[in-house]
Amino acid sequence: MKKHRSSNDTILTVEGLKKYFPVRRGFFQGVIGWIKAVDGVDLTIHQGKTLGLVGESGCGKSTIGRLILKLLEPDEGKIMYRGQDISGISDEAMKPLRKEMQIIFQDPYGSLNPRMTVGQSIEEGLRTVGMKGHGERKKQVAHLLEMVGIGPDAAAFYPHQFSGGQRQRIGVARAMGVNPSLIICDEPVSALDVSIQSQIINLLKELQSTLGLSYLFISHDLNVVGYLSDTVAVMYLGHIMEYAPAEVFYDNPLHPYTLALLSAIPPPEPDDRHTLPSLVGDVPSPFNPPPGCKFQGRCPLVEDRCRKEEISIYTVSEEHVVRCWKVAGY
C-alpha cells in the first residue's frame, strides 16, 4: 500500500458527514433529543475498488448509503462525486447523476414490485434515464438478465416465481441497467443461504472486474467484507472507529471494537473451541449518547479520559486510522 493515490482515481469522497434524526414526543411533537445516526464521517471510494463498511445494527451504515444517494439530506458535510459537491444540489441537478449511482438492497423480496414482471421492473429504470425506443429497452433487459446469469426468458415472469438468490440477481440486473459507476450494496447477501451467497459474491466481483465498477459494500459480516473489499471501515454509533486498507485491517486490527467484532465470529474450525470472548452489554441506544468515546460503555480498555474527552481519529500508519488514543499510543 505504498502507492500514493492521486485524487483523480477517487470516485467519491465524503467529508464530515452528519445526519441527526429528531426524536419527538408529546402532543405538540416537540423535539426532545437527537439520534446521531451519522456523526462526522469521512470516507473515500476509489475508482474500480470496494470500500467495505462494517458495523452492528443501528450503527448508521445504511444511513450513509442513503445519504450518498441523496435519498436523505445530510445535516452537515460534503459529498464529493468526481470532484463535484452533490450534498446541496437540487433534485433536477441530481438527475443526471442518478444514472451514475445505483443501490442494491438487502431484501430482494421487498425491493421488487410484485405486480410488475421482472422485465417491466428493469425497463422502468431504463425509461427514467431516457432510453426511448421500446425495442432498444427490450434488448437491454435481455442483455442484463443474461449478464447476471438468469437468462432473458425471465423477463416475462413475476418476482414471486423466483427464489431469493435469483431475485437478488434481478436486483443486481436492475442496478446495472443504467451503466452506473458506483453501486451501493446494502447488505446484498445477508438474506441469502451460504451456497447462494457465494454465487452473488462471485457475480459482484466478476461485474466489477469486467465493468470497472466501484462498490460501497455495507455489511455486518466481517468475513464477507474481508473477502470483497480493498478498504474497510468499521462504524459504531455513527462514528468511524477504524479505517484501513483490507490487508492492514485484517493483519493488524487495532481498535478494541474491531478486535471484539473479529473474535466474536465463531470460526468454522471445530478444533479451535474456546469460550468466545464477548463484549459485555448491548449496543447502546444512539439517543443522547454520553460525552466522550461512543464505545466507552463496552470497552475493555476504558479509562477516565475516554469518558470526558471527545476522541479524535489518529493516524497509526499511512492510510490506517483509528479512533482510540490508547491503541494509537497518544
Binding site: 443461504d193 451456497s195 457465494s198 465470529i265 468454522p268 474450525e269 473451541r273 448491548d282
Partner: protein
C-alpha cells in the same frame, strides 16, 4: 433420549404436494448438543415443529415415522398428554424473540405462565423462580426487568428471556431454532456462551438448528446435514469438518467466505435448492453435483458407513474412496 425415525411430512395445498421431510432419522443422546444444519427450506424447522406436535395440520400431513421420547411415540399422543411434555420435558427457543413474546404482557407474566401451566406454585415462589431464571440467563438486575414489557428490552435480552422461559421446567431436551440468527455478532457470542454454560450446569440435551457453520463448529458434538428434506451426512463435528464425505457438505464448507482467503473466486455450488414440490428423481442433489453419474438420476442413494458414526449418502464418493483404499 430423543430419537426421530423415518419421519416423513408432506405439505399439500391446491393439489400440490411438497415433500418437506422424506424419511429423516436422527437422535439426540443425553447431555449432547446436536446440530441440524442446512439451507432454508431443507426441513430443519419442520422436523422440530413435528417433534413438539405444533406443526399445523393441515396443510402439513405426517405420512410416517416415529418420534421416540422416553420409550413412547410422541406422534401417537393426544393433545392433553402432549401438553405435559411440551415445555416441561422438551422446550423450544425460537428465532424471532420479538414475535414469540407477547407484547402486551410483562416478562414476569410470561415466565410465570410457563411455570403455572406445568406446576402448582404460590405467587411468591413463582416470583422467586422468575428472578432466579433471569439471573441464570445473565440478565442484569432481574427484579426490575420483571416489570418490563418485551419492547423495553434489547434483542439479545429478549432472546435471554426466551431461553429463561424454555428452562422454567428443567427440560431434558431444549430445541433451539436459529436462536442467534437475528442478533449481532457480539450478542451472538454472548448467547452461544450462555448455551454452553447452561448445558454444562444443567446436563440437558440440546438440538440446535442453524445454517451457520461457524456456530456449528463452535457448539456441536454431532452434526446432521440436511438437504431438500433428507439427511445427507451425519457424524461427529470433527469428522464432518475435517473429512466431509458428501459433495453437498464439501461444497458448503468451501463456499464460506473468509477473511484469510481474500480475492479470487469463491467456490460456489451451482444451481438452486430444488422446489420441494418438484424434487428431482434419484439423489435430490444430483442436478447441482459435480460428481453425479447416471445412476444418481434414478436411484435414491443409501447411507454409507465411514465408521465411528460417520455416515454419508453418496455412493459415488464412497466407492471412489474404497477403491482408493484398496489400491493403497
Amino acid at each position: 433420549m430423543l430419537s426421530v425415525q423415518e419421519l416423513t411430512v408432506y405439505f399439500t395445498s391446491n393439489g400440490r404436494v411438497a415433500r418437506a421431510l422424506d424419511g429423516v432419522s436422527y437422535e439426540i443422546r443425553k447431555g449432547e448438543t446436536v446440530c441440524l444444519v442446512g439451507e432454508s427450506g431443507c426441513g430443519k424447522t419442520v422436523s422440530a415443529l413435528t417433534i413438539l406436535g405444533i406443526i399445523p395440520q393441515p396443510p402439513a400431513q405426517i405420512m410416517g415415522g416415529t418420534v421416540l421420547f422416553d420409550g413412547q411415540n410422541l406422534l401417537d399422543l393426544g393433545e392433553r398428554e402432549m401438553q405435559k411434555i411440551r415445555g416441561n420435558r422438551i422446550a423450544m427457543v425460537f428465532q424471532e424473540p420479538m414475535t414469540s413474546l407477547n407484547p402486551v404482557f410483562t416478562i414476569e407474566d410470561q415466565i410465570s405462565e410457563a411455570i403455572m401451566v406445568h406446576e402448582k406454585a404460590g405467587g411468591k415462589e413463582i416470583r422467586q423462580r422468575c428472578i432466579k431464571l433471569l439471573k441464570d440467563v445473565g440478565i442484569p438486575s432481574p427484579e426490575e426487568r420483571l416489570k418490563d414489557y418485551p419492547h423495553q428490552l434489547s434483542g439479545g435480552q429478549r432472546q435471554r428471556v426466551m431461553i429463561a422461559m424454555a428452562l422454567t421446567c428443567n427440560p431434558d431436551v431444549v430445541i433451539a431454532d436459529e436462536p442467534t440468527t437475528a442478533l449481532d455478532v457480539t450478542i451472538q457470542a454472548q448467547i452461544l456462551n450462555l448455551f454452553r454454560e447452561l448445558k454444562q450446569i444443567r446436563k440437558m440435551s440440546l438440538l440446535y438448528i442453524t445454517h451457520d457453520l461457524g456456530v456449528v463448529a463452535h457448539i456441536a458434538d454431532r452434526i446432521y446435514v440436511m438437504y431438500a428434506g433428507i439427511i445427507v451426512e451425519q457424524g461427529d463435528t470433527i469428522h464432518i469438518f475435517h473429512s466431509p464425505q458428501h459433495p453437498y457438505t464439501q461444497g458448503l464448507l468451501a463456499s464460506l467466505p473468509s477473511r484469510t482467503k481474500r480475492g479470487g473466486t469463491l467456490h460456489s455450488i451451482p444451481g438452486l435448492v430444488p422446489d420441494p414440490a418438484h424434487k428431482p428423481l434419484g439423489c435430490p442433489f444430483h442436478p447441482r453435483c459435480s460428481f453425479a453419474i447416471k445412476s444418481c438420476q434414478i436411484q435414491f442413494p443409501e447411507m454409507y458407513d465411514y465408521g465411528e458414526g460417520h455416515l454419508s449418502r453418496c455412493p459415488v464418493l464412497y466407492k471412489k474412496d474404497r477403491s482408493h483404499y484398496e489400491k493403497a
